[in-house]
């Protein structure tokens, strides 16, 4: 039996009195694992740990079979890791090419010609070859996120940790992103944090839902949707007993909760299951 690429066991982390992670446990192997959760759920803190920039207070973490707490093993992880932070900073006065090239050097790609070929490859992959000579401060928000994705793809890493990579991307760019990531997920591990349940449904064979520093759910998107099976119905009015309810495009209300007898039950989606698990906190964010 092979060792999972990512092993998270009882991870805890606090920032002063704020408990960001309260004993998170899950494994992830080749393929895309989606991390869903409202703001403050602890996703970013966990992803920073997976990216080896943050140390846990307690618990065990193993990435690619190595322990990021040990310096030698941490270096081995970093050499096979691609990380896109939630708020990736950029050297604004660098061109897209220069910035990705700078990161490539810090990834120990020292052969100039091979490095430049690799930089051109990843920029082409994210569709930025036409603007590679433009300064980052002149690029749109979506283009900047693609620059961040490009640097994460440098060297074709075994493990990709992507924190909300589709935030700020238009629908066409999101489809392109799905294509790029899904191509890489056949024999590589991708950890994808997102607020977009559609991305999870479209991309991830596995989903982990977090809330308040804990794992609420760990399974397939279908299993997540099944959490809400028999608990989603359409009605002309908002149901007073529903946990969550919103008016849909056709004027009817989609209610989630304990369905009354005779209700018109509908097929639940990943979003329904997620909203039911996480409750009003996530719903408020979705509405916002």
């Amino acid at each position: 039996m092979s060792i999972p690429t990512v092993q998270v066991s009882g991870i805890e982390k606090s920032f002063l009195r704020t408990r960001a992670l309260a004993g998170v446990t899950f494994d992830a192997d080749a393929g895309i694992t989606g991390m869903l959760g409202p703001n403050g759920a602890g996703k970013t803190t966990l992803l920073r740990m997976m990216a080896t920039v943050l140390a846990p207070d307690a618990g065990q973490l193993r990435m690619l079979g190595w322990d990021p707490g040990k310096p030698d093993e941490r270096l081995a992880i970093r050499r096979r890791l691609g990380y896109m932070p939630q708020e990736p900073g950029f050297h604004r006065n660098f061109t897209a090419f220069e910035f990705v090239d700078y990161v490539a050097i810090l990834k120990e790609m020292v052969d100039r010609r091979a490095r430049h070929d690799e930089v051109r490859r990843v920029l082409e992959l994210v569709g930025l070859e036409g603007v590679s000579g433009r300064k980052i401060k002149a690029l749109s928000g979506g283009m900047r996120r693609r620059v961040a994705l490009a640097q994460a793809l440098l060297g074709d890493p075994d493990l990709l940790v992507l924190d909300e990579p589709t935030a700020g991307l238009d629908p066409e760019q999101r489809l392109r992103f799905r294509e790029i990531v899904s191509e890489r997920s056949t024999d590589r591990t991708v950890i994808l944090s997102t607020h977009q349940t559609e991305d999870v449904a479209a991309l991830c064979p596995r989903v982990v839902v977090m809330n308040e520093g804990r794992t609420l759910f760990d399974g397939t998107p279908k299993e997540l949707a099944d959490v809400a099976r028999g608990r989603v119905w359409l009605a002309a009015e908002r149901a007073p007993d529903a946990h969550l309810s919103w008016r849909t495009g056709d004027g009817r209300h989609r209610n989630i909760g304990s369905a009354p007898s005779g209700a018109e039950l509908v097929e639940p989606t990943v979003e329904d299951g997620y909203l039911l698990l996480v409750g009003t906190k996530a719903f408020d964010e979705e509405a916002a």
Binding site: T18, A51, T52, A55, P85, F90, I105, L106, E108, R115
Partner: protein
């Protein structure tokens, strides 16, 4: 507000615990230094001060023996330009909030510090050497200035620029603020600090040149070590910094001739 600051401090400490324990690879430092050199040389501040430098040096020719134009040109141009642009280059990662991303990469943080130190050497210092030689040759024609232009002056110019670039990197690592470099520069002039930082002294001033050059070289070593120690405190770096500091203090204290500079 206080809580968020504390949380940030604590988070920064937690991030620091995940620092790499490996020394930077010379090949990575050199590759990065190439980019840093280019960025320092094309920085608008550096280009602007180079323009002033050219103006001063042009003014020096035919200035009726006023060596101040030459030294002033070097001071305003290469020293100030190199100092400010090296300081900004050092703080770039922090200012642009890329520390989290860079923290996940194999190269340790001091790779970037070492690259900016070398960038200062490759760019402004090489340029200073060239300008010194070209300026010196041009001023040979000026009978009143020519006696001031000698080998010691041509050696001091690049060394002074290197020392100021190294100081800028050290300050940028220890006091990371965009105003650090301009404030230090103004303070040097306004408070008389100008006489205790690296400076170009003509042979005619009577300075003990060997000790002055020793002072400049040891200053570069102290500032470079101080910058690198900010990233990682190794015994070797601390010993080198300590020895260089002692040498610098000794050379600085004894470089003036009896009775002071002429």
């Amino acid at each position: 507000m206080v809580t968020s600051v504390r949380a940030s401090v604590r988070e920064a400490r937690a991030l620091a615990t995940q620092a790499s324990d490996r020394l930077p690879s010379p090949r990575v430092v050199l590759a990065l230094a190439g980019i840093e050199t280019r960025k320092i040389l094309v920085h608008p501040v550096f280009l602007g001060t180079m323009g002033v430098c050219a103006l001063f040096i042009t003014r020096a020719v035919g200035s009726n023996g006023n060596i101040g134009w030459l030294v002033g040109g070097i001071a305003v141009g290469l020293v100030a330009g190199g100092f400010i642009s090296a300081s900004l280059a050092t703080q770039r990662a922090r200012r642009d909030r890329v520390l989290e991303l860079f923290g996940s990469l194999p190269a340790p943080a001091e790779t970037r510090t070492a690259a900016v130190l070398l960038g200062g050497l490759f760019g402004p210092v090489v340029l200073a050497s060239l300008l010194g030689v070209i300026g010196g040759a041009a001023l040979e024609a000026d009978a009143k200035i020519a006696p001031y232009v000698d080998l010691s002056l041509l050696v001091q110019i690049p060394l002074t620029v290197a020392a100021m670039c190294a100081l800028a990197v050290a300050l940028g690592r220890w006091i990371p603020s965009p105003v650090t470099a301009p404030v230090v520069l103004v303070a040097q002039v306004m408070t008389g600090l100008v006489w205790v930082i690296p400076w170009v002294a003509p042979t005619s001033s009577g300075i003990r040149m060997g000790r002055h050059v020793t002072y400049l070289v040891s200053f570069i070593v102290v500032a470079s070590a101080a910058a690198l120690v900010r990233d990682r405190r190794t015994l070797l770096r601390l010993i080198v910094a300590g020895l260089a500091l002692a040498l610098m203090a000794g050379a600085a204290a004894t470089q003036l001739p009896p009775g002071g500079l002429r």
